[in-house]
Amino acid sequence: MTMVITGNSKLQSEVEDLCDVNIDACIQCGTCTGGCSGIELMEYGPRQIIQLIKLNQRKILLESRAIWMCVSCHICEDRCPAKIKITSLMDTLREMACKDSKTKSNAQIQFHKLYIKQVKSFGRSHESMLTVALSMKGTPLPPLRLMKDLITRMRVDIKPPHRPDKSYRLAIKRLEKGGSIGHGN
């Protein structure tokens, strides 16, 4: 079967509207995939992800494991000869997946949501409270021996969480009322 592609796919236009990337600039050289820090656990590397965007494979991409195995290390983006902002692109795909009601939760989504909830409430993250919150959602606690060694070395934060100023709480409120800023850089 011959596939004739004319113009940009719907998905490409959607992604390019949401973030500052030029998908057409990709020359499919694979430098991104060659340096990718998450590649061992991805079913599609960044080079293939760009191709899947061109081929309008929205469902495959948003349900992929690959977008969650990206660690946002910026190595792909840093090395890309076409200067495609691949890290922003991966952020955009993850955000699209999160907004899609069909997306099933996974360990990464669960972690990010818990982390954000904490930051919204306290203005800062609190490692001990985050560890407890994660364990209540089923993530195993760190090994006992590790926790003991960290506690005896006084490395564990036992202070109560930060209480942010009113200006912070107001900013979060405005954001939750629907303020949004597009991706990019």
Binding site: S37, G38, L41, M69, V71, S72, C73, H74, I75, D78, D91, T92, R94, E95, C98, N106, A107, Q108, I109, Q110, F111, H112, K113, Y115, I116, V119, K120, G123, R124, S125, H126, E127, S128, L130, L134, P142, P143, L146, D149, L150, R153, M154, R155, V156, D157, P164, S167, Y168, L170, A171, I172, R174, L175, G179, S180, I181, G182, H183, G184, N185
Partner: protein
């Protein structure tokens, strides 16, 4: 001694597991005449989570932090944490776009017109400044002898890398930490994984990937013949340290320390003062490696 005041963004980790990074940074800067000013009520940079699933939150967090720096009267902010640095820098680049700046201003509730004047630098860049390197040299009490080090920058200490910035370190073969620690007399080894990733926050949510990455970094560091791994990022630090801890029974143990702790030792602070006794691998003969400068 000349004094220089800069805004200091410690970030959440330096109030927790990476407290020794904060303590040693403050000691070193105090000694060499850098006055660190922590902006009042700074908020989390968003770490990996905010930009991964909520871009607007990420930019709001960054914009508010940059505003707090600007309001405090400072035009430079330094972050020791690689993720804080990278997020703040990305936000400052994004806020150059007038449309985004206006939206962020509405969300933060402040006029962000002036935030683009704030320059964001990693602590390594601050300490690599010519006059500051000179001040370190003048205040050096000890030098390291026969101490083999690999410098592990991690991925975000040197990224995003702006080609237009002539001061920026190379992202593929960074040198700033190598030079700083080399000047203390340490035998700084060249190695392959200087700016590779440690697996980041994956260690906290399905650790398979973080284990693959940290195992590779540790293997390469040990193969280079190093006695010590020096790091400049709290997450690199805890990922490597925790992995070593888990492999305690099987593999070689190597201390993973913050580069500021080594600077602190050379400037005359004790092992305890710079927090080296708090590291998980904490039985290294530091005193034997120091001779009077």
């Amino acid at each position: 001694m000349a004094t220089k005041t800069v805004s200091y963004f410690p970030g959440c980790s330096l109030h927790g597991l990476a407290k020794p990074f904060d303590t040693s940074t403050r000691l070193v800067c105090g000694k060499i005449g850098i006055n660190l000013q922590e902006p009042n009520d700074w908020n989390c940079c968003g770490a990996t989570s905010a930009h991964s699933i909520d871009h607007s939150l990420n930019l709001t967090l960054g914009a508010r932090n940059l505003y707090l720096v600007e309001k405090s009267g400072s035009n430079t902010v330094t972050a020791p944490c690689a993720a804080c640095f990278s997020n703040l820098k990305r936000s400052s680049i994004e806020l150059q776009d007038p449309k985004k700046r206006q939206l962020a201003s509405q969300l933060v509730g402040e006029n962000l017109k002036e935030v683009e004047k704030v320059s964001v630098i990693h602590l390594l860049e601050l300490l690599s400044d010519h006059s500051i390197s000179k001040s370190i040299k003048q205040n050096m009490k000890y030098r390291f002898t026969d101490l083999k080090i690999v410098c592990y920058y991690g991925c975000l200490t040197v990224r995003p890398n702006e080609e237009s910035d002539p001061e920026a370190d190379s992202s593929e073969n960074p040198q700033s930490m190598d030079k700083l620690l080399g000047a203390l007399g340490a035998d700084v080894r060249d190695w392959s994984h200087k700016s590779e990733c440690c697996g980041g926050s994956h260690s906290l949510c399905g650790p398979d990937l973080a284990n693959i990455r940290t195992d590779e970094v540790l293997r390469q560091a040990i193969a280079s013949g190093a006695d010590v791994i020096a790091v400049a990022c709290p997450l690199c630090h805890s990922n490597l340290e925790f992995r070593l801890h888990a492999l305690q029974a099987k593999g070689k143990q190597i201390p993973v320390v913050f580069f500021t702790q080594l600077l602190g030792l050379a400037l005359g602070y004790t092992v305890k003062e710079v927090g080296l006794n708090k590291m998980l691998v904490n039985s290294f003969p530091w005193r034997e490696k120091l001779t009077l400068a």
